[in-house]
């Protein structure tokens, strides 16, 4: 296995980490409208991710930074090509981060309602757009001989990619509902489990449709295995939440996300961004990658840093393992 292949895998791992972690906190953001019945319940939900959302988001920054360093051509083509969707995602992430931090800083109801609305929309929109983006990456976009994206914004809104958007949206919301069940007590927990069942059913339908489509288009034996794992895990997650085993359900919805990401990257390999105009113009792990020297340094860095990061982020989840309910939220603000 050459180093650029290693980095292809590592970038897949970083995206998996990002979608696993920020997936449930996007989901929680969306659930502030779907699940919470009043301000206090919204606060319970927001506080389930309070200590961790910021660390979750860094997985995206690492994926971005790693792509820049390991596959500069991919980074350049992807981010200049998907200009407007990326702009929208960035705007959402800016407003979302500020919303979490500033929501409770003033007591006025209007102030808090505004930020809560912001949290809902800025969680929903990126949750959809990431799916659209990955749908396009896998399907291939108009890339010319100079590795430049020559399509336009509307080319990105094709049925396959839009279905991808629905998949990430429904899957993240389901994942978030399971997380809400896992992290709360009382009435909200019971409702989270019920809602998770419905969301799980929706997610299962769209995700299966999307994954089968992907398999028929570009799949091979490996991607088929990943697809089967994703499907089985998703069904398992639904069964487990129905049985009231939130921890198992959350682990399985996580496996679903990981297997789905793995499937997308498996169908992509050895391309990183196929050209829909001409196969010869596709960006691959070899023609888009950095020099072996850079990859070697990066491998050392990732090899040492990643386990440490996992350790202390894992510890954070342990510190804040306690379930919370409305009784833990003070009445003030």
């Amino acid at each position: 296995m050459e180093l650029h292949d290693v980095w292809f895998v590592l970038i897949a791992v970083l995206w998996t980490g990002y979608f696993f972690l920020e997936g449930f906190d996007f989901g929680i953001g969306v659930l502030t409208k779907l699940l919470a019945r009043n301000r206090k319940e919204r606060r319970v939900l927001i506080n389930t991710i309070g200590p961790v959302w910021d660390g979750n988001e860094v997985w995206l920054l690492s994926a971005g930074g790693a792509t820049f360093a390991a596959f500069p051509e991919w980074y350049a083509t992807l981010f200049s090509g998907f200009y407007l969707p990326l702009l929208i995602i960035l705007l959402c992430l800016i407003v979302r981060g500020v919303a979490f931090e500033y929501r409770a800083k003033r007591p006025e109801e209007k102030w808090q309602t505004n930020w809560e609305n912001a949290i809902f929309w800025t969680s929903l929109i990126p949750a959809v757009l990431w799916g659209v983006a990955f749908g396009n990456i896998v399907r291939g976009v108009k890339i010319d001989a100079d590795m430049e994206y020559v399509g336009n914004f509307w080319d990105l809104l094709n049925p396959y990619a839009l279905l991808g958007g629905l998949v990430t949206f429904s899957l993240f919301t389901f994942h978030g509902a399971v997380f809400a069940g896992l992290k709360t007590v009382g009435d909200i927990r019971a409702r989270a489990r019920k809602l998770a069942l419905k969301l799980g059913a929706v997610a299962a339908v769209v995700a299966l449709a999307f994954l089968i489509w992907t398999q028929l288009d570009n799949g091979d034996g490996y991607s088929l295995i990943a697809m089967v794992i994703a499907a089985v895990a998703l069904v398992g997650a639904i069964v487990m939440i129905a049985a009231g085993r939130e921890g198992w359900s959350f682990a399985l919805s996580g496996v679903t996300i990981a297997a789905a990401v793995a499937m997308l990257f498996l169908t992509l390999f050895p391309n990183v961004m196929p050209s829909s105009l001409n196969d010869a113009w596709s960006l691959t792990v070899t023609n888009a990658s950095s020099s072996p020297y850079t990859l070697k340094i990066m491998t050392w860095c990732a090899g040492i840093a990643t386990p440490v990061v996992l350790l202390y982020q894992g510890w954070t989840y342990w510190v804040f393992r306690k379930r919370i309910g409305t009784q833990h939220i003070a009445d003030a603000h």
């Binding site: 051509e73 200049s80 702009l87 430049e148 340094i297």
Partner: protein, 502 residues
């Protein structure tokens, strides 16, 4: 008009706007993290209430500020790909590595431990909770280091070779990129300047409360801490600035000549205090200067030769082919002066403040400051400042809190604008770095949207800061003074409200 709206111009405006805006929060984050950590350490060691109240007060302002720093930082990482894709293709092999290191090593640190610190007041043992804020502080410094190493490579590319076949620069010596003198000098200068920002911020806000005779014990401590920070960091900023300047004179003579509006090379070159020049003709029409000082700054010698703008332009034309290799001279000249002027002004005020509030034993018994008294501002033994003068000092101290921020912004404008027309000095021109596939409309849209959003957020942030500044340090509760010392989960009083929640 066409040129003014060219994608390159718009992309540069966007990069400038988002970067300067981001950098309003960065220095404050770096310094307030360390200062808050210092105050919390003082509390853990002495158990004095005023330190805990100070920690909570400055910690809150720090959090309001870091939130903006974090979210505006996300944009920075992605706009290289969005607006500068040819740059990314050309230098990604080198420039991407420190960026990835920053994310993997510094960002994860910062953002994970900040969550633990904010929400961990009643979940973590005192010392582990204290360690969290120190780790945040280390994270902010590491992050600055990696970014400055990347930026320094653009100022002075080292440790690379050009791969003609792939049409890009490739890394050959990463260690050299991380440890070259440009990187170290920039890091030292930026770090010390960051503490100047935090120190002045503390002084200004403490002065505001002391002038109103509110929260005196906490604010007295903060005032002294702030003043000491301003003076020490001010001194180190000057020293590091001088170091960086000498490095720049060797590596980017054009930038420094532009900073001085030195058109033609001179022996015993003068330091210009004021100049009004004619860029098209290449000379100054009015100039006030001190002879020899520029030579000294460049070379530690009052008589050595310093090349001028016209000489360097000619030399670069011979080296790189026909073209204009001059940056925007008035911008370089004035930004350099504003940087130094505002930085020195805050440093001067720090010294004045430290002298006026010097140790109590300088005072006779009758004039000693009690625990609940505003510190006397003492000119000489037995001679306090009149109330009117004292008031003047508080007001000046309050406004000075903005000075280092202004100095920092101009510093970046100077260092980035002074490098033009190069994006990587001597290797890649800015006009060759923009994204060829991105339309004018797209860049214009993002420029407008970012500027508008940043403006709205600025209003929100400043209002919030003002609200919390005015409110002053919080009163303490029993839980604050005797926090439980267990990690997470089960607690005898399991349904107690959380100490901190959004």
């Amino acid at each position: 008009m066409e040129l003014a709206l060219a994608p390159e111009t718009l992309a540069r405006w966007q990069f400038g706007t988002t970067t300067v805006y981001h950098f309003l929060f960065v220095p404050l984050t770096i310094s307030l993290a360390a200062l808050t950590a210092g105050l919390q350490t003082a509390w853990v060691r002495t158990n004095k209430e005023k330190y805990l109240r100070a920690t909570k007060f400055w910690g809150k302002l720090f959090l309001i500020n870091i939130a903006m720093g974090v979210v505006t930082g996300i944009v920075q990482e992605f706009q290289f790909g969005m607006n500068w894709s040819d740059y990314s293709r050309f230098v990604g092999d080198i420039f991407g590595a420190p960026l990835a290191f920053e994310a993997l090593i510094a960002f994860f640190f910062e953002s994970t431990f900040i969550g633990l610190w904010i929400f961990g007041w009643d979940k973590l043992p005192k010392k582990i909770h204290l360690a969290c804020i120190w780790l945040v502080s280390i994270g902010t410094v590491l992050s600055a280091y990696f970014i400055l190493a990347a930026n320094s490579w653009m100022q002075h590319p080292v440790g690379y070779r050009i791969n003609k076949e792939r049409g890009r620069a490739e890394l050959t010596d990463f260690w050299h990129v991380l440890t070259q003198n440009t990187a170290l000098a920039q890091f030292f200068h930026t770090l010390t300047a960051a503490f100047l920002v935090g120190g002045a911020f503390m002084v200004g806000i403490a002065a505001f409360h002391l002038a109103r005779k509110k929260h005196i014990p906490v604010m007295r401590t903060s005032l002294r801490l702030g003043l000491i920070t301003v003076v020490i960091s001010g001194l180190l900023t000057a020293v590091s600035g001088d170091q960086l300047g000498k490095v720049m004179f060797k590596q980017q003579p054009m930038k420094m000549a532009a900073a001085e509006a030195l058109w033609d090379g001179e022996d015993a070159a003068p330091f210009s205090i004021f100049a009004y020049g004619d860029v098209s003709k290449g000379h100054n029409s009015v100039e006030i200067s001190i002879p020899g000082v520029l030579s000294f700054l460049a070379d530690d010698d009052f008589h050595s030769y310093v090349p001028g703008i016209n000489d360097i332009n000619k030399a670069e034309q011979e080296r790189f082919g026909p073209g204009d290799y001059r940056p925007n001279i008035p911008v370089a000249f004035w930004s350099f002066r504003w940087m130094i002027g505002f930085g020195m002004a805050s440093f001067g005020l720090g010294i004045l403040g430290l002298w006026l509030t010097r140790k109590k034993f300088m005072l006779p018994e009758a004039m000693r400051t009690g625990e609940d008294e505003v510190p006397n501002l003492v000119l000489f033994r037995n001679k306090a400042l009149s109330p009117r003068l004292a008031r003047c000092y508080w007001i000046v101290a309050l406004w000075t809190l903005l000075f280092p921020l202004i100095a920092n912004s101009w510093g970046w404008i100077f260092t980035e604008m002074g490098r033009q027309p190069w994006v990587v000095y001597g290797v890649l021109r800015t006009r060759d770095a923009v994204s060829p596939g991105v339309s004018q409309g797209e860049v214009l849209t993002s420029l407008i949207v970012f500027t508008a959003l940043y403006a709205v957020l600025a209003v929100i942030e400043v209002r919030l800061l003002l609200k919390y500044i005015k409110a002053g340090p919080p009163e303490l509760t029993d839980d604050d003074l005797n926090p439980p010392t267990r990690i997470g989960g089960d607690h005898e009083d399991a349904d107690r409200p959380m100490a901190f929640s959004y």
